[in-house]
């Protein structure tokens, strides 16, 4: 019998780098990364877990076929897994997340509150504020142990809100002092008679924050979902974030009801995940773990397709969904009629956006999807930054290879970079391709692009570009984004960027990984801040007027 890829026996999740061989620092062309990733071989290796196929295949994080990473001595701030858990398990309607940590680990709660409320509004649910609890640890707790603080806060959460379940997230400090979350959670579960779920997401555990998605989903599948499921044949799980409910109209012709997870879900919605007919997602980076766990432990099949973005992606995804739920007879007609429906406006948008160059810098597989969407609009995309790269997803299903799908369907990208919101590299990476706009989600990069004259399209509603209509929506929105160049041109004329001329003169944004010795060269070119306040190293061409989308940005 096949070894399971997801191990629910233990309470902590294996990190992405261990499971999938995830990398966070790489530069080359997209096709080179497809080749190096060896998705199929890795997928096979993962599936068999031994024997012949394993010898020719690769385990996710196995040493033999580990992707080469560029190790940089310089890093800038990033997100962490703990924050990801807060914005997943802290965004449930009737469960409580307790953060076992000093108060600083809860410092982005106001942001998650905002996302939660907007998400509830998008899904037509009653608006409520988040109620994430912090154990608020101090120095003495680090010395003498913090378990009593946790007991107190979990009881407070229970008494104040009577939640259906309580999740407890581990932080760097509580992990280092050795807090025994497993025992504490068990003890409190017995006392309170509701599921109490330990979540191991301390920031230092994984080099990429997306392990936080896996940690959240691990806890849900392990302790929340119905262990004796009653099949609901018209229910499809969609592993999502806060996006608008575009899936329901898209899947209605197939007679499917959508069960969104994890954000804004209730306990009972999470619980019925094991009863669904299938699991799908808008983003395999996000949904891979949950989908595979449900498939392996509860026989809920996952949709073996790329993501429902762009024409080819949506076609393939809809066909795979139809196949999974036995609706193959109607799907070709549905797809064809949708193509016909969007075609007139799509042609017009392609004319308007002709010659525009785009750049995508978002989470990994979502970037693959965004590139296909804007390429379908006739926009040229030669560069992209993804914040990490998974050479394979958990199940290893062949048709989920999103980067391979992108390259095969819409062509290569000359400059494909894996870099974790490292702003200091962004200037040089943009310069290689001179885009007219960038698509972003995570914070950290867009303000720099803004100062270089490049407007950003923050894809805050991740479902916005979804399906066939999403392509049109994105095109219409882009016209508004390109108009914002006016603002960016003002910034570019007047605002300084915080990097030295020496660094900005480097062609290779990964040179420090290859030649760290250049840091020892004489320090002559460095301009201290304040020495020349007007010294924006990227100057405007005198004739560079940025009024029309057709105008290209030029770098001196």
């Amino acid at each position: 019998m096949a070894r399971k890829k997801i191990n629910l026996k233990i309470s902590s999740v294996d990190t992405r780098e261990m499971r999938l061989g995830t990398i966070t620092s790489w530069d080359g062309s997209a096709s080179e990364l497809v080749d190096a990733s060896r998705y199929e071989a890795r997928g096979r290796g993962r599936v068999t877990g031994g024997g012949e196929a394993d010898r020719e295949g690769c385990h996710g994080g196995g040493k033999v076929c580990r992707l080469r990473e560029l190790k940089m001595p310089f890093n800038q701030q990033t997100m962490c897994s703990h924050a990801i858990v807060a914005c997943q398990l802290g965004n449930l309607t009737d469960c409580i997340l307790v953060e076992h940590a000093p108060i600083g680990c809860s410092a982005s709660n106001a942001r998650f509150n905002q996302g939660f409320k907007i998400g509830l509004a998008r899904r037509g649910k009653p608006i409520q504020s988040i109620q994430i609890f912090s154990t608020n640890l101090k120095e003495n707790d680090m010395v003498f142990g913090a378990s009593d603080r946790l007991r107190q806060t979990v009881r407070d959460a229970n008494e104040r809100f009577g939640p259906k379940a309580i999740f407890i997230s581990m932080s760097c400090s509580t992990a280092i002092i050795g807090e025994d979350l497993d025992s504490l959670a068990q003890e409190l579960e017995t006392e309170l008679k509701i599921p109490v779920v330990p979540v191991y997401c301390e920031g230092f555990r994984s080099k990429h924050w997306s392990t936080g998605f896996d940690a959240s989903q691990h806890g849900i599948v392990r302790q929340i979902v119905n262990k004796n499921p009653k099949k609901q044949n018209d229910l499809i799980n969609i592993v999502a974030l806060w996006g608008t409910d575009y899936f329901t109209p898209m899947l209605a012709p197939l007679g499917l009801r959508v069960n969104y997870m994890v954000d804004m879900a209730s306990f009972s919605e999470l619980r019925q995940a094991s009863e669904a007919a299938a699991t799908a997602t808008f983003c395999h980076t996000l949904g891979s773990y949950m989908a595979t766990a449900l498939e392996e432990y509860y026989g809920v099949p996952q949709i073996d397709a790329p993501q429902p973005f762009g024409i080819a992606g949506t076609d393939d995804w809809l066909r795979a969904v139809a196949k999974a739920v036995g609706k193959e007879d109607i799907i070709d007609d549905y797809i064809e009629s949708e193509h016909r429906r969007i075609s007139p406006r799509l042609e017009e948008l392609r004319k308007i956006l002709k010659g525009v160059k785009g750049f995508v810098s978002t989470g990994s597989s979502y970037a693959h999807a965004m590139i296909s969407v804007i390429r379908d609009l006739g926009i040229e995309v030669e560069g992209s930054i993804v914040f990490h790269h998974d050479p394979v997803y958990d199940a290893g299903h062949e048709n989920q290879d999103t980067l391979g799908h992108l390259v095969r369907n819409s062509g290569d990208l000359a400059h494909f970079t894996v870099s974790q919101t490292q702003q200091f590299q962004f200037h040089g990476l943009l310069k290689r391709v001179n885009p007219d706009f960038i698509i972003i989600r995570h914070n950290g990069l867009a303000p720099l692009a803004a100062k270089l004259g490049i407007p950003s399209f923050p894809m805050g509603d991740e479902h916005f570009p979804l399906g066939y209509d999403g392509i049109i929506r994105t095109g219409e929105a882009l016209i508004g984004i390109l108009a914002k160049k006016k603002f960016n041109a003002v910034l570019k004329r007047h605002v300084e960027i915080p990097y030295t001329d020496w660094w900005l003169s480097q062609e290779d944004q990964f040179i420090l990984a290859k030649h760290p010795e250049i840091l020892d060269e004489p320090d002559e070119t460095k301009t201290p801040l304040g020495a020349d306040r007007s010294a924006n190293p990227i100057q405007m061409d005198p004739d560079d007027n940025l009024s029309a989308p057709e105008e290209k940005l030029r770098y001196a």
Binding site: Q76, M79, A107, S108, R111, S129, L137, Q152, Q423, F424
Partner: protein
């Protein structure tokens, strides 16, 4: 809901915090960003500095940041390897490359929980750079040591000790160092620094603002010992730093616990500072006259509305905010506008040794009016206390943060955002203090009143 729920259990004050109103000590990376030319090096886990960004800059009036803040901030992003084998090697490479890559005049390594818990000797790494003449400072600001205000004072002290250094020269009469609000944390800090500096300079003083758009950055910090005295304008933040400077440079300090709001308080403030400095009051009195004339020009106009508005104006208010904002606005509303304080909650956790002094400031805050003050940090309890405040059936005026939205809605009250975090307003150059800020504050309060808070 289980039937064991009792008020006693639900409203018990414990270690728990819901709806936090401050970051942790590592939030002081933003004190470094607030110094023009300052580059923080966040020596902590991934996520630590990013989370502070949201509390301090992002979800706090969408202030944003500049220079080496937010995505530009160098960070060690401590991983498992550094936890097991120590993080000093990675930190050394980070400092070395930051000095080449980032523009800056002063670099401050701010160490968080993980580095401190595994016992990294950050000092030995940084001292190597100091010996080579590099402007690098280190500060231990683990999140478990306290909130971002604690971190702010730790960072100020370390910059003074490691970067400003010893000084035996003369002092300059009329030059003062200003210790005031906590940069970024106080939502209006940029506007407030501009206004207070304007007021002090108008009175004939020279000001080392140390933070914000009008600071001269590292060079100004080097001038700290040259100042005649230190001016602390806060109920408690900055007193420890002023005490330290008193011992280090034999510099006296003047403590003004209540930030002045409105003409009368600001005029009194100027006279107090001018007297302490011993400078000629001729210039300050001229400045006061000019500012007062302008102030009452607007106040007279406002009176038409204030005395004749038919549809009701708030008469009672509650406030939940940091001590500095709380005292300043409670004093102004009670003493200058005649609004009755009914619930004053201080949320920034001042150390116990300052609390009695702060409580006394609310006694007789204006003639015949005293307010009781409570120190609470757990939003659940704060919201409960506001809910139970005695507004005597009038429309409650609630000065608070984003977190008071639910209780304000429940009470049908008017919420004016004065505290951290604030996700419903975009704040740029705004101030509620001094001569120019007070009318802005009145605009906010009475616009809420005439619009029904909508």
């Amino acid at each position: 809901m289980p039937d064991i729920l009792t008020d006693a259990n639900r409203f018990r004050r414990t270690n728990t915090i819901v709806h936090p109103r401050y970051g942790c000590a590592i939030g002081a990376v933003y004190s470094v960003v607030a110094i023009p030319g300052g580059v923080p090096i966040a020596n902590c886990g991934p996520g630590c500095a990013d989370k502070q960004f949201f509390m301090m800059c992002g979800e706090n009036g969408y202030q944003g940041t500049n220079g080496a803040g937010a995505g530009a901030m160098p960070s060690a992003n401590v991983g498992e390897n550094e936890i097991v084998f120590g993080g000093t090697k990675k930190l050394d490479a980070l400092i070395k490359s930051a000095l080449r890559i980032m523009k800056g005049d002063i670099f401050v390594v701010v160490t968080g929980c993980s580095g401190e818990l595994v016992g990294d000797d950050v000092g030995s790494v940084v001292r190597g750079y100091q010996r080579a003449g590099k402007p690098v400072v280190f500060a231990d600001a683990a999140g478990f040591k306290g909130n971002n205000i604690t971190g702010h004072e730790i960072v100020m002290k370390e910059i003074i000790d490691q970067f400003v250094g010893d000084y035996k020269g003369r002092k300059r009469k009329g030059l003062l160092n200003l210790f005031f609000e906590v940069p970024y944390f106080n939502t209006n800090w940029r506007g407030d620094f501009i206004e207070l500096k304007r007021v002090l300079e108008g009175a004939g003083l020279e000001v080392n603002a140390l933070f914000g758009p009008e600071s001269r950055g590292a060079a100004e910090w080097k001038d700290i010992p040259k100042a005649q005295f230190n001016l602390v304008v806060s109920p408690w933040v900055g007193i420890d730093t002023a005490e330290h400077l008193k011992a280090k440079y034999n510099q006296p300090y003047l403590h003004v616990p209540i930030v002045p709001v409105g003409e009368e308080a600001t005029t009194e403030f100027i006279r107090q500072v001018v007297e302490f400095a011993g400078i000629n009051p001729k210039r300050s009195e001229e400045f006061i006259k000019k500012e007062a004339k302008l102030y009452y020009y607007f106040l007279e106009h406002f009176t038409e509305f204030f005395s004749e508005f038919w549809f009701g104006l708030p008469s009672r208010f509650a406030i939940a905010s940091d001590a500095s904002t709380n005292l300043a606005l409670t004093k102004f509303l009670a003493d200058q506008m005649g609004v009755i304080p009914v619930k004053q909650i201080i949320t920034d956790n001042p150390p116990e040794r300052f609390r009695d002094g702060i409580r006394r400031l609310y006694e007789n805050i204006t003639e015949g009016v005293s307010a009781e003050v409570d120190f609470i940090e757990d939003g659940y309890i704060i919201e409960h206390e506001i809910k139970n405040a005695d507004f005597a059936g009038t429309v409650p005026l609630i000065l608070g943060s984003t977190w008071e939205m639910d209780v304000a809605a429940e009470l049908g009250g008017l919420l004016v955002r004065v505290g951290t975090p604030n996700t419903e307003e975009v704040v740029m150059n705004r101030s509620f203090i001094g001569y120019r800020g007070a009318p802005t504050f009145m605009e906010r309060v009475y616009s809420a009143a005439v619009s029904g808070g909508s």
